[in-house]
């Protein structure tokens, strides 16, 4: 209760009136491993409102992956209720979950998870295919142009760099225009320059009004988000708004300037 109040004070006033996009209440997830009971999530509450950009952080074993799976409708909680866009998903069957994943959620994975031997365009068309959408190719091309890969439509994943592959994955996630983008360590496999480029795309998408939830363990990546939720032992332990937010486009400009400066100082031999 206190947290909610604190957040509401800091949040822009327009968002207070909205219904939360994600509403998790008292979520438990228990695994049986051998004869041991593992409580991955232990009474977790979380609200995410439309237009938010949330980083979920926590040490390994804290339950953040399990939380991602439940938010992403890849798994259902053992106990508790989860409303996604006003619909209870905790007790859905496989077919309903598949439909929700297809239409409400766009996934971005650490390992990109593109289909090998399949072009960028076909990869992006895939969710539209399962969603029985019309004009798939046009939508897919739009999505790829949106992430700056309009000239790489027929490239296969092995012909693209890691950053480009992740951008294809983002295009795939936004192709069916979902309510929520869900990213699991999206920069975990990327160099810092490429990470920054990916974060720039996420920030742009968020500026356009998309809700983004991201799991990360890198503090500087979390610093790009608007809100950071810390998890430990299957519970939310801290929930803060980001102060001194990093803006990716500025960071990139700074990196570029530094590089030019380095080159400039290196190439001409200073004469004293």
């Amino acid at each position: 209760m206190l947290r909610t109040l604190k957040r509401n004070q800091k949040q822009a006033p327009t968002e207070v009136s909205k219904e939360p996009l994600l509403k998790l209440r008292d979520i438990h997830k228990t695994y049986i491993m051998g004869d041991q009971e593992v409580r991955a999530l232990d009474g977790l509450d979380l609200d995410v409102y439309p237009g938010e950009f949330v980083a979920i952080m926590g040490p390994s074993g804290s339950g953040k992956s399990t939380l991602m799976h439940i938010i992403g409708c890849l798994d259902v909680p053992t106990e508790g209720s989860y409303y996604l866009d006003g619909v209870e998903v905790a007790e859905m069957d496989d077919y309903e979950l598949a439909r929700i994943r297809n239409q409400k959620i766009g996934f971005i994975f650490q390992g990109f998870n593109l289909l090998a031997r399949t072009t960028a365009l076909e990869n992006v068309e895939l969710p539209l295919l399962y969603g029985k959408k019309k004009d798939r190719t046009d939508r897919a091309i739009d999505a790829l142009e949106r992430v700056g890969l309009g000239d790489r439509l027929d490239h296969r994943p092995n012909e693209l760099s890691g950053g480009q592959q992740q951008r294809v994955a983002i295009a795939r996630a936004i192709a069916s225009d979902p309510a929520l983008l869900l990213a699991d360590e999206p920069t975990g496999n990327l160099a810092s320059q490429q990470s920054e480029e990916i974060m720039q795309i996420f920030q742009e998408l968020n500026d356009e009004g998309r809700t983004v939830v991201m799991v990360t363990h890198e503090p500087d990546i979390g610093q790009h988000c608007k809100r950071i939720v810390h998890i430990r032992d299957g519970r939310v332990v801290d929930d803060e708004q980001v102060q001194e937010r990093l803006i990716a486009s500025e960071v990139l400009a700074q990196l570029k300037a530094e590089r030019e400066q380095q080159q400039a100082s290196r190439s001409p031999v200073p004469v004293s």
Partner: protein
């Protein structure tokens, strides 16, 4: 996702591993091709038999000499002295004759003549024959063929006719003259042209010169695929005395007056021969001959053809099942190998049904495509068989349809288990799979 899109996805899956797809398909291809080929050969053989029955007429009897089956047993029972004498005569006849490959020739030309004379009511004509393989030569051309010693009744009884010249006459028989009537294949062998008229020419049979007096009308392939035009007919006396040097005939064909008379004719001939050869009961165990109707022979041949067809079909079906197990095996490997892909597809919204369809369609495509290739291969092989080996083959449309349906069914049946396994994967486990 609709069926058409599922098919596109499945096709792409198959195309990404062409070699494996082709090898898996091979099992089905071979199975289907063998089914088609076997049925085609079997049906062709059956058709030949039917044609032969129709062309020969149904009122034919064949009489073969045969060693009685229980003669040795009877001798050990110390029954009669007749048995001993007949055994003696057997050994002497095979020593002196050796005609036609028969072990025991007890039929003579007189037997045939008397049968023809004694039963005019039931028997229209009798054609005694001797057969042997001989060497023929004309000029520089050398070849082998079978020679038939025949009587003037042969064309009537055996449905043969003379195209040019004349057939064997009674005069030729009485004088054991060295004259011959040739089939068209003989003309082909000796002059390399089947249309050549050899009438008036002299050919050498086993180094004796014969004058060709006529040419037979072509008959084509016989019931068992043999070339019925590859024969030379000479007077039966000439064949017995000048070529084979035997007092016995190889067999005789008997044409009955009507089909209804056949049982009577069979009985009359049997009684007559038993009396004439002084045979002792029990009959038919002690008979030294064997009477068969043409239709009986054909029916037996046909049932052999049918048995062979079903036997080979069973083998072919087993190979289809083995092919199906191959499909299942490959699909299982494919599911394991593509676990991650399945996880990705599920994460972005594929339902279990979508995944099931994808793998089921893949299995079906392998088997249906395999089926189609197999049918084409089977038809190709059938045509090859008939053009190279001159076997009559008939590709049965029913067999083609059944083969296609069975192969599709094999794919579906053996695809269900792997596809189900794929559809039932949990998305998280599938995504984590390395």
């Amino acid at each position: 996702m609709n069926l058409l899109e599922s098919m596109r996805v499945a096709l792409r899956g198959l195309a990404s591993n062409k070699m494996r797809t082709a090898l898996t398909m091979l099992g089905i291809i071979i199975g289907v091709a063998v089914v088609i080929l076997v049925v085609a050969i079997g049906q062709g053989a059956q058709k030949n038999v039917e044609d032969a029955v129709n062309s020969l007429g149904t009122n034919m009897l064949m009489i073969w000499p045969e060693r009685s089956r229980v003669r040795l047993t009877a001798a050990t029972h110390s029954s009669t002295s007749t048995n001993t004498t007949s055994t003696n005569s057997t050994s002497s006849s095979s020593a002196g004759g050796g005609g036609g490959g028969q072990s025991d020739n007890r039929l003579t030309l007189d037997d045939a003549k008397l049968i023809a004379q004694n039963f005019p009511k039931s028997i229209a004509a009798v054609a005694p024959q001797v057969r042997s393989n001989v060497q023929i030569r004309m000029g520089a051309n050398n070849s082998t063929t079978s020679v038939i010693g025949a009587t003037p009744d042969y064309p009537f009884v055996n449905n043969a006719s003379v195209d040019r010249g004349r057939f064997i006459s009674d005069y030729d028989i009485n004088g054991s003259l060295k004259v011959a009537v040739c089939g068209t294949t003989i003309a082909d062998k000796l002059t390399n042209d089947p249309t050549t008229d050899l009438t008036g020419q002299t050919i050498s049979i086993n180094n004796q010169d014969y004058t060709v007096v006529g040419m037979l009308a072509p008959k084509g392939a016989g019931a068992f695929g043999q070339d019925q035009d590859d024969i030379i007919i000479v007077p039966i006396t000439t064949a017995m005395h000048r070529i084979l040097n035997t007092p016995y005939i190889s067999f005789m064909s008997v044409r009955c007056t009507t089909q209804k008379m056949m049982p009577l004719a069979q009985e009359e001939i049997a009684d007559f021969l038993r009396a004439r050869h002084h045979l002792q009961p029990p009959f038919p165990d002690n008979d030294d001959f064997n009477i068969r109707s043409q239709t009986e022979l054909m029916a037996r041949q046909e049932s052999i053809a049918t048995t062979m067809t079903s036997l080979l079909s069973a083998v072919a079906i087993i190979s289809l099942i083995v092919g199906g197990i191959g499909i299942m095996n490959i699909m299982l490997v494919s599911v394991t190998e593509r676990t991650r892909e399945i996880g990705i597809r599920k994460a972005i919204g594929a339902t279990p049904r979508d995944i099931l369809l994808q793998f089921l369609i893949e299995a079906s495509i392998i088997s249906i495509l395999g089926g189609i290739f197999g049918i084409l291969l089977g038809i190709g092989c059938s045509n090859l068989m008939s053009s190279i080996a001159h076997w009559n083959t008939i590709v049965n449309p029913t067999a083609v349809v059944v083969a296609l349906i069975v192969s599709a069914g094999v794919g579906l049946f053996f695809g269900i288990y792997p596809a189900n396994k794929a559809a039932g994967l949990h998305p998280i486990d599938a995504l984590r799979y390395e």
